[in-house]
Amino acid sequence: MNHVKFDETLVIRNVEGENSSDILKHMAANLYQKGFVKESYADAVIAREKKFATGLPTKGCGVAIPHTDIEHVNQSAISVGILKEPVDFGIMGEETEKTPVKLIFMLAMHDSHSQLKMLQSLMGIFQDEEILLYLANEESEVKIKEEVSKRLNLNNVKGGE
């Protein structure tokens, strides 16, 4: 019921942009195209990022977890973006400080408080330098999807291994 959708079409490599808003717009458009979020999601996630930055200076390479209020989402999903070149994001909980971000985990959350395990596993990825570097450098979207699905325990494929 509270299934989080994720597949290789939600893995976007070589995302390019001048700034964090460009990157978010690009990734949000993909989620919108697939029907996971409403048209309002893109603007909402950009506005939210400006007000409450989500960049995290992690070991290996910086990450960001942009997300916004549940009313902009149709179906919970996660999208992974690997930036061609790191782009500065504001650091979560800091007034002005920024951190170069290479990996984006864009969260489209449709219900509050229900994804604890997935979120905890996501933080587990952030604390693992090796996996962050793997995701940043791997060239196959399918392999990236498989690794992230395994880590987050998202079994979207029936009859898998």
């Binding site: 939210r48 995290l56 977890i65 209020d69 909980g93 959350m109 979120l119 952030f126 604390q127």
Partner: protein, 99 residues
């Protein structure tokens, strides 16, 4: 009369949307309290909702910027997400819970 004030502290856990990072942080604090046998009440909310709990809270743990002044300590919980400086953060929270 307030029955929460005596003994049982109210800890606010806030983030921008009240759904993602605060979920992880709430769970971590709940576990810490349990491990240390400290009874607390955790309220997970958006940072904009904090003023509503101002009178009963004894601590605010948050992943976002707090622009307002409050009569209780405010602790930045980013270490729960990145793992960097986690031991220090846990010590800091525990010290507040034990007060």
């Amino acid at each position: 009369m307030s029955e929460v004030k005596k003994g049982k502290k109210t800890v606010l856990v806030a983030c921008g949307t009240g759904i993602a990072t605060s979920t992880v942080v709430s769970d971590a604090i709940e576990k810490m309290a349990k491990d240390n046998k400290i009874q607390i009440e955790i309220v997970q909310c958006k940072v904009t909702e904090v003023p509503a709990y101002e009178s009963r809270a004894s601590l605010l743990v948050t992943t976002t910027i707090v622009s307002k002044e409050y009569p209780f300590p405010i602790i930045n919980a980013r270490a729960f997400l990145t793992g960097i400086g986690l031991d220090k953060l846990k010590e800091q929270i525990l010290a507040e819970l034990k007060k």
